[in-house]
């Protein structure tokens, strides 16, 4: 009798086995997650340790010297800025327009499905195919030559999905009731978008734009044949000039230059990854902040 009362509140053997299984699998998946993350953290730490000695003020403000074996990365930094700026000018308006269409206008029909499929494809097409496209279309067909313009347009098309997807998310997070309220005041669709939807999602859009910048900074293949070069003694003066770029510079110092002091490529790699991670962290922090302050 007393045994029955005592055991009545204890887990049955089957329950206990299930609980044990649950713990085992939870641990297994935790381990997998850790194994996924730890090596990368270790690698990044190694990069930092080996690259840090190369970093100095001069590293960021000087030109490469002696066939890239000495000196800094200044022209590559400036070149990357050019590429990113021109790419943004091209892709942000287009991407935002596409996102507005998908979020505010599109019905659930074949066209919308095709657009979504095209976005996935644009993101999924290998970067080297984007490079071939950039070469065939911008460099040769439109006769921009190998220039910042051609390279940036290639990058813009490649990173367009990033802007579209994040902007669409930002737009969709604006409650429908905001739109209804505006429409019921007699505003047109465009007035509603401009005065209500966009102002309420602008920070979310910005988050996506920062993310796009970080993607653009790191891309190498699409600019190899469309505008970025091994070495330039001067800075680009217009969008029709060629330029150096951080990502291609890393490839070059890592593979194309013999007898390079070991710290130099590590330094370039470290500065590139710091740029990208910094941009991403800003974007993420921004998003977390937004989620916290949002009132709806």
């Amino acid at each position: 009798m007393s045994d029955a009362i005592k055991n009545g509140f204890q887990a049955a053997p089957l329950d206990r086995r299930n609980q044990r299984n649950q713990r085992v699998f939870r641990l297994l998946f935790l381990t997998m997650t850790v194994i996924l993350i730890v090596p990368v953290v270790v690698i990044l730490a190694l990069l930092t340790i080996k690259g840090a000695p190369a970093l100095s003020w001069g590293f960021f403000t000087e030109s490469p010297k002696n066939g890239l074996t000495e000196g800094g990365i200044f022209p590559a930094l400036v070149g990357t800025l050019w590429l990113v700026a021109v790419a943004l000018v091209a892709s942000v308006p287009l991407g935002v327009a596409a996102a507005i269409y998908l979020s505010e206008y599109a019905k659930d029909n074949l066209l919308t499905r095709l657009i979504n499929l095209a976005i996935i494809n644009l993101a999924g097409v290998p970067s080297i195919v984007h490079a071939l496209f950039g070469l065939g279309a911008f460099v040769l067909f439109f006769k921009f030559g190998t220039s910042i313009l051609a390279a940036s347009l290639t990058l813009a098309i490649m990173t367009l999905p990033v802007v579209i997807v994040s902007t669409r998310e930002a737009l969709q997070s604006v409650p429908q009731s905001f739109r209804l309220a505006c429409w019921s005041l007699g505003a047109t669709r465009w007035q509603t978008i401009r005065k209500v939807v966009l102002p309420n999602s602008i920070s979310g859009i910005l988050t996506g734009v920062i993310l796009e910048v970080s993607r653009t900074v790191g891309e190498t293949a699409p600019i190899m044949f469309t505008g970025a070069v091994f070495f330039l003694p001067f800075l680009p003066q217009s969008v029709m000039d060629q330029t150096m770029a951080m990502s291609l510079h890393l490839y070059n110092v890592a593979t194309q230059v013999p007898d390079i002091p070991e710290a130099l490529p590590f330094g370039v790699a470290l500065s590139l990854i710091l740029m990208v991670l910094l941009l991403n962290s800003v974007s993420i922090a921004f998003r977390v902040h937004l989620r916290r302050v949002k009132k709806w």
Binding site: I128, V129, L160, T188, Q191, A254
Partner: protein, 343 residues
Amino acid sequence: MSDNTVDNTSSGTPAQPPGKPPGKPPGKPPGPPYGGTPKRRREDRLEDRIDAAWIWDRIARATIFLGGISAIVFVLAIFLFIAREGLGFALSELDLGYFFTSPNWRPTNETPQFGALALIAGTASITGLAMLIAVPFALGAAIYIGEFATGKTRETLKVLVELLAATPSVVWGFIGLSIMNPLIIEMFDVPIGLTVLNAGIILGLMAAPIMTTIAEDALKAVPDSYREAAEAMGATRWQIIRQVVIPSAKHGLVAAILLGVGRGFGETMAVLMASGHAINMPTSPFDSARALTATIASELGETANGSEHYRVLFTLGIFLFLVTFVINLLADVLVRKGDKKRS
């Protein structure tokens, strides 16, 4: 129809002209900008107002529509432009049978040989190895982050995975070249470390975070009511995952794997730098290999525009485009199938 017009005006402030939106932005003083006057109306048109705002709305709609279809236009343009350079050559001059069955890639010989089998084998072996490494860990991590982890832990892990996914491929290539290479030489006592193994590991590390994110989205798409129903019947978390969540998210998970494969297949810089880039039918993970993407990247710079070699590289591009297109299409179909089954 004209009744409606009257209705519109009478419901607004009487002082306002018909068709003027009553509560328009306070910043704009009353006056012409929105002043659709009765004179400008065309009686036979709809009862809609036609004023500046209406016109702007039409213009904006058209512009935004153009932006909306831009993605389709670009995908078509990409195919058209690479086909323009490569398709004619592929269909008339290139021996496609030889292309797919011969491992002899000697584009610069006097009589050039364009056999892409070794390149396809290189891409396949590297991607295959990468998937062997990445798929279990990515799915495991997705399940942990999506189903087990809660609160701060979950957010932190998600951010970490996102940061991993952001690392540029050229940096991964550099890691393969300068960190993995000596490591592999030392650990396995082999002469070179730039091999299928190296590229596979690097590619696996690259693809895993992306797959984790997509797989986690697939898990999130399973409605909570499913989990609650299972929980109400006394199922443990693991039972819910195994018997409810995973079967329901099956299609999305397969799509995640497919997109990972597509990513690995199309990866260029990391594979170029870490694989050894030797034309070779790989027979073991310790062989060097060469990928399709890497071949284009390394050879395009040295070819004359319009030459055979140049065109065959575009043909490789068409091949890459088509394969990734099919992979993405399959993934999309799978995701739709999963959604439909659930609703």
